[in-house]
């Protein structure tokens, strides 16, 4: 944590309060996430981990408080923020009627990328040979990998990942961890939740945010 972090956080939370169905999930939560950080949101089920990620991504509106991207409110700089944000939720955003290749294509196109080799990217997530397979016919892990594939072709600084390792095998988890470390060392940050133990990314490198409490 004492690395050469630039002074302005990439993304920061200011006094976030979240109330869902008259239940208080967290309140007055403030933190800053800098380039190079890998942050894990921890907490028991129902503590509001997913809600926090969705608020950070700008999908949900907090009850009160603000999310800042480079010290500007994300609601006022939504386009700029979205250009630098890669969010993968519980739901993969993969259409079962389309092939793996078409899915990746679509996801990259609506993010604004136009020159890339889908087969190369799919090879990186071990989906070579499945380019033409309908996503509905893929296994759960392959389905998830189709969604994760876009992590290998992005210039977004901020990655927000909700349970990225679900249905991914050990080797795949390791590859993802390596990718996260690489991304962080190139000036990006990763914010995620997971219930799985990670082998490569461990305590001093990994920052944790515990819900109900502040930083640990």
């Amino acid at each position: 944590m004492t690395k050469t972090t630039p002074s302005t956080p990439l993304i920061s939370a200011q006094n976030l309060t979240c109330i869902r169905e008259e239940r208080l999930l967290f309140d007055e939560l403030s933190f800053g996430i800098y380039a190079g950080d890998i942050v894990q949101i921890e907490g028991p089920n129902g503590a509001g981990k997913t809600s926090l990620l969705r608020i950070l991504a700008g999908l949900s509106r907090p009850y009160s408080g603000d999310v800042l991207y480079l010290e500007q409110n994300i609601t006022s700089t939504r386009d700029e923020f979205n250009e630098n944000l890669l969010y993968l939720g519980h739901l993969a955003g993969v259409k079962s009627e389309l092939t793996a290749e078409e899915n990746l294509n679509f996801n990259l196109r609506i993010s604004g990328y136009d020159s890339y080799q889908t087969s190369d990217i799919l090879a990186k997530v071990n989906l070579s040979g499945f380019e033409e397979a309908l996503a509905g016919h893929l296994s759960a892990g392959q389905h998830r990998r189709t969604a994760l594939a876009r992590l290998w072709h992005t210039n977004c600084k901020i990655w927000i990942l909700d349970e990225p390792f679900t249905a991914i095998d050990k080797k795949g988890v390791e590859e993802l961890e390596r990718l996260f470390l690489d991304h962080a060392s190139h000036g990006g940050c990763v914010i995620m939740t997971t219930h799985q133990d990670m082998g490569l990314i461990t305590e001093p490198r990994l920052r944790k945010i515990k819900l109900d409490y502040r930083f640990i």
């Binding site: 939720g89 993969a92 990328y113």
Partner: protein
């Protein structure tokens, strides 16, 4: 890593994807169309086969059936995208949401509105519509069904996150459909009596322009509420 934000590319990417999915799922195109045809054929059985009466009520029947068919098919406009998470990705894309929403509504209209316009003359024959009303029927459907899709999409966007949105949707959007229904049927009536009907068409056209400008923003705002 080349990256550029382009409205046209976002629009056509989405349009192309929705059309592709629909073609792989052909039922989605034919079911509303079948519904439209069956509802229209039920009326003579209910009212009686008297050609004079049918001629009188034909414009209304065809248009009410078109309203119902449009609503029925709209229900799934955002449902699949909502349940598999691609809607979230659309909301977080750097491309303007209104453009993408417009592409989705256009895809939906091409798939359900256009076939409806194409079969309408056939149904008009079954209902003994005045022979000089056919052009008016096609013209009002061509201008009016996109209005229905755009207005209906607002209601769908508001209810997409709810488990039982179906009946609610009817309550939300049918009142908004009333002006289109009134002007469209009166245009067909006027044409049947050899009166000019371009005034009514112009009003429906104005509604279409208004909806094209305003509805995408309302739909976008509603989607942001629904995915919250």
């Amino acid at each position: 890593m080349n990256r550029g934000i382009s409205y046209t590319s976002a629009f056509f990417t989405l349009l192309q994807r929705d059309l592709k999915i629909a073609i792989r799922h052909r039922g989605d195109i034919f079911n509303p169309l079948l519904f439209f045809i069956i509802v229209v054929t039920l009326f003579p059985l209910g009212i009686g086969p008297e050609p004079k009466i049918l001629t009188r009520v034909a414009p209304g029947i065809i248009w009410v059936a078109a309203l119902l068919a449009s609503m029925l098919s709209l229900e799934r406009l955002f449902k699949a995208d909502y349940t598999d998470g691609s809607l979230e990705q659309m909301l977080l894309s750097p491309q303007p949401l209104a453009i993408m929403v417009l592409a989705k509504v256009l895809a939906h209209w091409i798939l359900t509105g256009v076939p409806l316009i194409l079969v309408s003359p056939l149904l008009a024959v079954l209902l003994h519509l005045e022979s000089n009303s056919y052009m008016a029927l096609m013209a009002t459907l061509a201008l009016g069904t996109p209005v229905l899709s755009l207005l209906g999409a607002i209601g769908v966007a508001l209810t997409v996150g709810l488990r039982k949105g179906g009946v609610l949707l009817t309550l939300l959007i049918l009142p908004l459909y009333i002006p289109v229904l009134i002007f469209a049927t009166s245009a067909i009536d006027a044409a049947g009596m050899n009166l000019p009907y371009d005034g009514q068409l112009a009003i429906i056209g104005a509604m279409l322009v208004g909806c094209l400008i305003m509805a995408p923003f309302a739909i976008g705002a509603s989607l942001r509420v629904s995915t919250n």
